[in-house]
Amino acid sequence: MSPIGKDLPRNKDSGLRLLTVGLLYLSPMLIFMLVFTFYPMLKTLYYSFYTTNAHGIPVLFVGLDNYIQLFQSDSFLTSLRGTFLYVLYTVPLGVAIAFFLAIISSERLRGIQFFRVIFSSTIGVSVAAGSMIFLFLFHPSIGFLNHVLDWIGLAPIHWLTNPKWALISVAATSVWMGIGFNYIILLGGIQGIPEDMYESAKIDGAGYWVRLFRITLPMVSPTLFFVIIVTVIHSFQSFGQIDILTKGGPAESTNLIVYSIYQNAFIHYKFGIASAQAIILFLIVLIATIIQFKVGEKKVHYQ
């Protein structure tokens, strides 16, 4: 890039000139956005109204048929129900555990830094590595979990092949992998609470629980809310753990929306249907984000 604006006095900075320079600096960003975000987003919408051939070339305009077909197919409804159930399994539990860890590690204790590193560690565990470890832990005959069940005299569970358990097992894996991220943000939120609030509460004779529920919880609630929304969005996007642990089975019980998109698009080459699913995913995430903004606005008021 050339040294724009060099040796030029300020009075030459006319509106048009500034616009040119500004856009020049923004151009890499805008070009990448155009090619890899805006164009494909519109293209996805476009595909969702078509049926395509195996090369992804749209052959027939079908209007809303792809959407209608989706909402009439048991497979998609199962996938949607599974996705919402999975979100329900992962988000409250994942956030609650991370919040608990953040609370017990926010005290100023000797060696606390060590625990904080441990609690953050799963952010460095990739989906593939984490899922491989859990695939091993869930193994029906040699997995550690069934060894434990055996020791306490219980029958082994087919964690990943029993339709009753598979989604729960995948969700448990996701909860564990998500703790690190949630923990880091929640700990930061708790540490951002001014110390003197606690001091004055203590002078008033407030005990630990009162301080926790009257100060920590309300003060950290905006952060908590942020974490919940991010985790919800993230849960809707889960893919790797399903691909490694269950491949969508058994009986499609873990065929969550992104995995279903992947299968339709890249296994069955039904780009039209897959694009309609992608648009539905987009709308779900959009709604979650709008909720965040609405509530986020409110949070400014009471701070």
């Binding site: 500004g22 890499p28 805008l30 460095g124 590595a129 055996d150 809707f236």
Partner: protein
Amino acid sequence: MRISLYQKGLFYFLLIAASVLMFFPIVYAVLASLMTSEEIMTGKLFPASFRFDNFTLALKSVPLMKFMLNSLIISLTVMLGQIIVCCLAAYAIVFIPFKGRNFIFFLLISTMMIPWEATMIPNYLTIVGLNWVNTYQGLSLPFFALAFGVFLLRQHFLTLPHELHESAQLEGCGRLRYLVSFVIPLSMPMLSALGVYGFLTTWNMYLWPLLTTTNNNVRTVQIGLKMMQAQETNTNWPVVMAGVVIVLVPTLLFLFLSLKQLRRGLMSGALKG
């Protein structure tokens, strides 16, 4: 908060118990990678002796070192690409007072609502059309434009003194020179936060490399792990766990060293988001 001795004990108990539970899967993977198949079968927790054969076997079954190098190249490329592209964009939005910059900022930020999976089908077709399957550019270029990065850097650039920018301009300091010699050095903490974030997310990426790699030349470690699983019907678990450990150790070390930067980055995203 100051707490009593009794509470202190309770906290340490909870902290230790939680750490054991949290870290157990990783510790167990490390222990299993040192065991024999027989020890795994019988449900032992500790190996009788440390066997490192599993690691050599893991490296023989899948070219993990090659994959590691690929992951490193791709992650560094994305990290640098994101930093350069986001720096230029955030600089324009904060320091160049042109008309419509707030609109462009809003437009960029609004893309944070688009789940990446909603664009992956056309992106895949683009990469195929460009003949970029199995190339480093196909694996890295789609991730250069990071709206979150622009957001993060804009928030930080706004805190830099504006007078500095004006006086530098009066003295004939060009914009690009100002960016390189003032803005960037003053933003190192934020840039490193962004860098750590970009590196880790790229390193851990799974779906995109799964779609756009079909041979071992450019495959990443994450796909390598999947390959270890798929390779044999009768999976040799100690070897697979050795593979997992090989992949896990560099990221965990990197995370432990850069936790401070990462926390700063995530926090400024969370508190203002």
